[in-house]
């Protein structure tokens, strides 16, 4: 187990190293002169102040040295700052992380509640009407893009029925309902499918027959013996998707004008504030990788065959 954790840690460092190279190259080769761009259209800079700014952003150094500096800054938690606003990306993230996390937690709760239950029902009553219903609705949910789901929900529940607020967070608690459903929809479907597949496979296992042979009730066999085995891959998936959600839900936050990290990123893309874009992306990748690591290690804890290696 110790060895496993160490190996995964090393792997993570390697992945982050690779990702940082990609991000650094992107930052470096972004077309145009970032200094000139930052001054706005038609604004000419004299040579001296141009060089001063170049020094400030280390643009005068050779590439490898810039990379070392870049990684050093990343390690110190410096994700860069906007050329135009001079605001550090970390500040922006700190302001928005609360909203993004709220949405992510709400979505993951829905995914667990609905996805897992639907998957269990479909697996236990395989080929029944309920199973067909789950299969059909998950197919549709997977086929409909998130922004369409969001727009449709807004149209029905906000514009037509006036039950829930259209956008933003001013309306209090209720304002999270539609974005959370939108954000969770595709994952609920995928979790349900994953759960159904894992559960149907486990239900065919010999140890399930043993459990019945012991005289255990169907409920205990399914909710204890089968669930405990089939939930492991599902939890892994949920963990990974939570990691992705913490990085910010670009589309949902945009559709619902939800003031989180994703919305900040989209805003930066539209204003072509590239350092913010890259900084937020770097943060997102780092969170994603770290959460994946945590999930992998907890996976090992859930499965004694791996834990006790």
């Amino acid at each position: 187990m110790g060895k496993y954790v160490v190996r995964r840690l090393l792997q993570m460092v390697l992945v982050l190293f690779g990702a940082s190279i990609i991000l650094f190259l992107a930052l470096f080769v972004i077309p145009g002169d970032p200094i000139a761009t930052s001054q706005g259209e038609g604004h000419q800079l004299d040579k001296a102040s141009h060089d001063a700014i170049a020094r400030r952003y280390h643009l005068d150094q050779p590439l490898p040295q810039q990379y070392v500096g870049y990684v050093g800054r990343l390690l110190k938690g410096d994700l860069g700052e906007s050329y135009s606003y001079r605001r550090p990306v970390t500040t922006i993230i700190r302001e928005k992380i609360g909203n993004t996390a709220k949405l992510a937690v709400a979505a993951i709760v829905l995914e667990i509640a609905l996805g897992i239950i639907a998957g269990i029902i479909a697996a236990v009553f395989r080929y029944s009407f309920l199973d067909v219903l789950v299969t059909l609705s998950t197919t549709v949910a997977i086929g409909v893009p998130t922004f369409v789901i969001g727009l449709a929900l807004q149209n029905v529940f906000a514009v037509n029925l006036h039950w829930l607020p259209l956008q933003g967070q001013q309306a209090g608690r209720e304002s999270i309902i539609l974005p959370a459903i939108t954000l969770a929809a595709v994952n609920i479907a995928l979790v349900a499918r994953l759960m159904r597949g894992a559960m149907s496979e486990v239900l065919r296992a010999d140890y399930i027959r043993t459990a019945y042979a012991k005289g255990l009730s169907k409920r205990v066999v399914i909710m204890k013996h089968a669930l405990r085995n089939s939930i492991i891959p599902v939890l892994t998936y949920l963990g990974i998707s939570f990691g992705a959600l913490l990085g910010g839900a670009l589309i949902t936050e945009t559709v619902f004008n939800w003031n989180g990290i994703g919305l900040a990123l989209v805003g930066a893309i539209q204003q072509q504030d590239n350092p913010i874009v890259l900084g937020v992306v770097t943060y997102g990748v780092a969170v994603f990788v770290v959460v994946n690591l945590i999930v992998d290690i907890s996976y090992a804890f859930l499965d004694p065959r791996i834990r006790l290696e």
């Binding site: 792997q11 390697l14 992945v15 982050l16 690779g18 990702a19 990609i22 991000l23 992107a26 080769v29 972004i30 077309p31 998950t138 197919t139 549709v140 997977i142 086929g143 893009p145 998130t146 922004f147 369409v148 727009l151 449709a152 807004q154 149209n155 514009v159 259209l166 969770a184 595709v186 994952n187 995928l190 499918r193 994953l194 159904r196 597949g197 894992a198 496979e201 089939s230 891959p233 599902v234 998936y237 990974i240 998707s241 992705a244 959600l245 990085g247 910010g248 839900a249 670009l250 589309i251 945009t254 994703g262 989209v266 893309i269 874009v277 992306v281 997102g284 990748v285 994603f288 994946n292």
Partner: protein, 317 residues
Amino acid sequence: MTEVAPTQSPAPAGEITLEAGAGGFGNVENEATVLGIRQQTQFGDVRRRFFRHKLAVVGLVMVGLVFLAAIASPVIATRPPKAQDLTNTLQEPSSAHWFGTDELGRDQFSRVIYGSRIAVTVGLASIILALVIGVTLGAVSGYLGRGWDAVIMRTADVFFAFPLIIGAIVVILVMGRGVTPVVISLGIFSWATIARLLRSSILSIREAEYVEAARSLGAGKWRIVTRHVLPNSMAPVLVYAMVSVATAIVAEAALSYLGAGVQPDVPDWGNMISAGQKFFGFKDYLWFFPSMAVVFTVLGFIFVGDGLRDALDPRLR
């Protein structure tokens, strides 16, 4: 980093389905073994099973219609897609303008039809690109093994660290907006799953008897890979690729919707939805029809992919 993660970031989804033998592609290693033993001679069987699958046939028809719309856009469209008509702005759907007009008086039906061109181009081209990279690297990794394997798989890990949309945004930041950047960005952030699938598929097949036989007959490495190993390991990859086309089409629409896709004036479903949102609540046809176009296309590819999967391995039903 994006809520469409599972479809759009195949990394986790792909991986987990491998382990769970679930919804997606089943246990690839077993699948590969089964398929490997069956060999390609059973192509007829596969075709028969595919066409018996009702949803798959429906999907094929849907995909066919989208292709038709893309190829014959100028014939089907009632106006040029960029033609403005300032006397006829924001018209509700009518017999003159089936899907209505936008604030510049552009005919929405024609734009939706032309939009299929972007969808089909991006969907196919980006997945072909991903296949070229993924199959090459996956084959090298699975067949040559050792150092190659390690380097390629660690590289794949790096690409997995970027959810699809996020990775694509980085590339588009560098290359600027447009069809080509979108194709390239989606391609280079989709190859990793393909490489992994193919690699594990190859690993289980290369020990199969007929490969051993070819080897003992003195066939060269390259010949063994191209003639024996690849054809028999491609099944899970093809199923995955089919679903990935759907993923890429959604991703393209999402990127354009977010303002990071094709140029804003291009008739494109994502662009149209984004533009139509300005009139949300009173001109809903503006986002409704392009949305339905995306849904129609995506479901078509998913149905075909599901049918293909069941046809290739009926065990997984």
